[in-house]
Symmetry: C2
Subunit: 139 residues, 2 copies
């Protein structure tokens, strides 16, 4: 399993280090999005804050993860499941944040809708963020 993770790193021409392996594995193990703080905690504080910041940055640049605009003003990161590559993200799916358990899901199969804008406005990117109750919390 760690081998698969390291293969991904090498495919993105990133050197394999304990920090990068652990963080990428963490993303593959969790179904929701992660914040810097959660990553720091779940890796048992073995890595420096700065290392985690830089790892997340490089993962975004390489198209391994993408950021999610959140209402509570802390950056969320999630795996790119589509064919994103270096400098080219294609994450046009919507995001869902559960009000109860606070998990953020990438709803990969629901694409962002087309929205007509007033005259003169040009759309580059559409982000949809839905808050509510997830399937687990809505029982």
């Amino acid at each position: 399993m760690t081998d698969a993770i390291n293969t991904i790193l090498k495919k993105s021409s990133l050197s394999v280090t304990p920090g990068r392996s652990a963080i990428l594995q963490l993303f593959h193990q969790s179904d929701g999005a992660l914040t810097h703080a959660v990553i720091e905690e779940k890796t048992g504080d073995q890595f420096d804050r700065v290392t985690i910041y830089r790892t997340l940055q490089v993962f975004v640049e390489k198209g391994l993860i993408h950021t999610i605009p959140s209402p509570d003003n802390s950056i969320l990161y999630a795996l790119c499941k589509e064919d994103c590559s270096e400098g080219h993200h294609h994450d046009n799916h919507i995001h869902f944040i559960c009000d109860k358990c606070n998990t953020t899901y990438c709803l990969d199969h629901i694409t962002t809708p087309y929205i007509a804008l007033p005259n003169g406005f040009k759309t580059n990117q559409t982000d949809v963020l839905i808050k509510g109750l997830c399937a687990q919390c809505n029982l």
Copy 2:
């Protein structure tokens, strides 16, 4: 004009102070959304940072302004043009951020679309954020 502003404050049962008047007037004068930093600058640094934070908080609580989730991780505030009141916001419009001039617009007449979610998921609130070029910058 300052009278109109103060009337709004009194209607929300807020005491009228120089800071609140100035900040609320600033919102009524600008067509886009404002950040804490911009407010601090545009009021000529006459008010303490903390006062501005607390003023924005109380304006949100009273339904005078609403926050906008932004991708660059700084809270944006904009006037509520609808019938929002204390503890009850009804801002179901979409937001637009210009990539060039960085202005954030409330597109009040464009309501958020209905989006079908997977089984079990329940929508409480939908936020749509579109990035692109505004009418001024798209010439």
